[in-house]
């Protein structure tokens, strides 16, 4: 099938819409809200710096909603504000590098979600420590629970330290991992 030039724009837009919808579905996986994801998807796929109005029109989202979600995206570091000369509007542009986006999201989720969990677990652990339970603490029930908390803690601190290591040097690791995957 050959496309005339006039067909190109709507077809491109159709692909972009599919992509935005895709990003919407990915929201859960990335742990961000669907609308935030859609906006980011649009910015990523077009590669352009868009204004709030552009986004409102294209995705049929209210101004306030776009505003709030854009600030969150900027806060996450996935999107940058850009100023155009002779234009008072602000424009927004997505990062381009997939690895960088992934690292940003992952490191923030670690900080917001994983770290507090590990802290709470440590607190649970203390409460079950033999010295805080008195001499009878050799009983079955607390010992078993302590064991399970320890298993979990061990696993999560492992994940934590691997993640940390990755964030600190993902540029270098990237090649290594890509090689590893091809093997």
């Amino acid at each position: 099938m050959k496309a005339r030039a006039a067909d190109l724009a709507p077809r491109l837009q159709h692909v972009e819409d599919q992509f935005v919808e895709l990003w919407n579905n990915m929201a859960n996986l990335w742990g961000i809200s669907p609308t935030m994801a859609r906006i980011h998807g649009l910015l990523y796929i077009t590669g352009a710096a868009l204004s709030m109005d552009d986004i409102m029109d294209r995705l049929a989202i209210s101004r306030g909603n776009v505003s709030m979600n854009l600030s969150k995206l900027v806060e996450w570091g996935l999107v940058r504000r850009v100023h155009k000369k002779r234009d008072r509007k602000e424009y927004y542009e997505s990062l381009h590098d997939v690895w960088e986006m992934f690292t940003l999201v992952a490191s923030q989720r670690k900080r917001r979600e994983l770290d507090p969990i590990i802290n709470t677990l440590r607190r649970c652990k203390e409460q079950l420590a033999p010295e805080s339970l008195g001499p009878k603490a050799a009983e079955e029930a607390p010992r078993a629970r302590l064991q399970r908390i320890n298993d979990l803690l061990k696993f999560l601190t492992l994940v934590d330290s691997l993640a940390q290591r990755f964030f600190e040097s993902h540029r270098g690791l990237r090649e290594a991992i890509e090689l590893l995957a091809q093997e």
Copy 2:
């Protein structure tokens, strides 16, 4: 602080409650619903085989809700049904191994979430392929979009293949990873 035997049970319960609450907070990270997570948390931390009534009472959740969430947990493979002799009730018991639980959750999320995304991306890619765009396809816009879709696809297939590899042999990998983390 020394604890008398009588103090032990309520204190243990208090720690368990904290743990269930923690699991509740982890739900988002694991991609399961909070109530499902709380039920699983209770089963994991107590290490016991509990009946629906036990769970209803302990977590203050309705019977229907417990029933639905337990089936989902069984479906995910995180919880097993167990039968006790001379008792018509069914009892439910969590897996104990943290790595196994993680692998189960991750492999299912991959199948439910990641795989469809990769498929959709491939479809987007085809629609932007030069041959489907006609002779004028060398234009800037589609080329740039195709590039970004390819970047993404490359990243996601990489994640996919690493995950696959992990699921197939996490028992072996486990030791290697633990060593790596200590380095």
